[in-house]
């Protein structure tokens, strides 16, 4: 009697025992990833928060608590508001251009034509290569003396040799130059996303709509767009975050100048926090990115959830 009962229990316990093991092993498998992120992302973030309310600088590394004094000082500075505004304009502008060019590019590259593979590979280049190196090429193209853009404009008779535009030396032109590089870097990502989206639209749905008399615009906006909206939103959020928090393009192209006209949060924080050594104020400027990131994260979460339905 008892032996039978025990065997039964053992049989019943075996998968249970395995399940227990999986419950132990599962967290152990994932623990290193979580630890890594906590120690090197979570901890620095808390430290940045504390820097923001301390008097820390490389001349006075004291961690003395000063409360919201730094925040007040940053908010009172005109350069900061100007910088925040620039950052927003660069982000919104380059997303719009990137999205438009991305859509147009994808519609062109969707068609079968000889050389399509090469065209696609070339269009992807700006997004694939390291942004710092690509920015250097633009810096050379915007050079004050030997700009190939100016040479072309002069040769075409559009501008006077003596009166060439100084792409990186005039405030409005420098702004346009930074915007151009951001949009140039971003639009291939848009092309790829739209291409992937178009490919995911079921052909029979489109055919059915065409048979039912839906024209070009109707097919685009009432059938294709709703289907690809979730991934376009995801791509848009990534693009927004990467442009909003960029430092390398501005740092290499204009250093924020002339007269802070192209300054963005990242470059201002770098100048204040690293070059001037005022870590506390630099940290406050960095932290202004956080609310925007939070909005992006919430939007991303909603897009990811919607994708599942």
């Amino acid at each position: 009697m008892t032996t039978i009962a025990e065997t039964r229990r053992a049989v019943a316990r075996r998968p249970r025992f395995l399940l227990d093991r999986a419950e132990v092993m599962g967290p152990m498998f994932i623990a290193p990833a979580i630890l890594y992120v906590l120690v090197l992302v979570g901890l620095p973030f808390l430290l940045a928060l504390y820097y923001g309310v301390s008097a820390y600088s490389i001349f006075d590394p004291s961690y003395r608590f000063v409360g919201l004094k730094n925040l007040d000082e940053v908010l009172e500075s005109e350069i900061f508001w100007h910088t925040l505004w620039n950052t927003l304009l660069f982000t919104i502008g380059s997303q719009i251009i990137g999205l438009l060019l991305g859509k147009i590019g994808a519609m062109l590259l969707m068609k079968e034509f000889p050389g399509r593979g090469i065209a696609r590979a070339l269009v992807i280049l700006p997004w694939a290569v390291p942004v710092s190196l690509a920015t250097l090429a633009w810096k050379w193209m915007f050079d004050s003396l030997y700009s190939v853009i100016n040479w072309t404009l002069v040769a075409a008779g559009l501008v006077d040799v003596a009166n060439q535009p100084q792409w990186l030396g005039q405030q409005d032109l420098a702004f346009a130059a930074v915007m151009t590089v951001h949009a140039w870097r971003l639009f291939p990502f848009g092309v790829i996303i739209f291409l992937a989206g178009f490919a995911s639209v079921p052909k029979d749905v489109l055919d059915a709509a065409t048979v039912d008399g839906a024209g070009f615009w109707r097919r685009n906006y009432q059938i294709i767009l709703p289907i690809i909206a979730p991934i376009v939103v995801i791509a848009l959020i990534f693009g927004t975050v990467f442009t909003f928090t960029d430092l390398s393009v501005v740092y290499l192209l204009t250093m924020g100048g002339p007269m802070n006209s192209t300054q963005v949060l990242g470059s201002l924080a770098f100048q204040v926090g690293i070059l001037s050594g005022d870590v506390a104020h630099g940290a406050v400027i960095c932290l202004f990115m956080f609310p925007f990131l939070l909005v992006a994260v919430i939007a991303l979460l909603r897009a990811l959830r919607r994708r599942e339905i």
């Binding site: 620095p44 590259l109 694939a128 290569v129 430092l247 770098f270 990131l293």
Partner: protein, 281 residues
Amino acid sequence: MNAVARRIGLTGSFYSAVVVLVLFAAFPFYWMLITAFKTDGDLYNLQSIPYWFNAAPTLEHLDYLFNKTLFLRWLLNTAIIGVCVVAITLVVSLPAGYSLARMPGRSAENLGIGIFLTYLVPPTLLFLSLSRVISWLGLQDSIWSLVVVYPTFTIPFCTWLLMGFFKSIPREIDEAAIVDGCTMLGAFIKTILPLSLPAILTVVIFAFTLTMQEFVYALTFISSSDQKPVTLGVATDLVRGDVYYWGELMAAALITSVPVAIAYNLFLDRFISGITGGAVK
């Protein structure tokens, strides 16, 4: 007749649109190429047409780059950083992705998204405090600081990518191995890893290219020339005061960009499905 003219017109405008798009995207790279092989006299001459060689092409910039700058050292640094970051990423992300794929219920999904979201945390938010952490670790001004920090963005991205991949492997395969007496770790190593080679290759490529593209942390942590990765070294050390060594700069930019561009083109589809969380099938 009219219809034929219309068609020719349409085809013509289609191709010109493609050409304009490709020119906009690729001209800076053409410009790198042509600058890298032009003599200085040809580069700084406003009289001649700049789009092509007006003097015989030269290798002097490449010669200078390889023999008189630390370019090779920077490439080597980037390679060392890349290999180490890839190794750390694989060791941490493979089990994490597997565990997330097999964990039951909504919490695994949330945990996965939570880890993925840290990929959105930008270097510009953390560089000030991380440089403090780096100096606590005694790693300031050394390539090892980047080896430690870069996995903070490769691990989230690759864990997410691998999670999606492991979900596509039927549960029955590793469950069968467990029933046959394997431990969870054994089942993972013996049955899942061999099936995951394509995904592992993708992770290797992306961890490496993400590492190569980073600039902000390198700029903040490293100031000695011989410790710089290639993107930083080229951008900062080939400029002396106000003088830009354009030939050398463009040659270096081109040499570094080519392998990354090829890798991206080959693995593009996987990258997209990674970033959109498998929304595109």
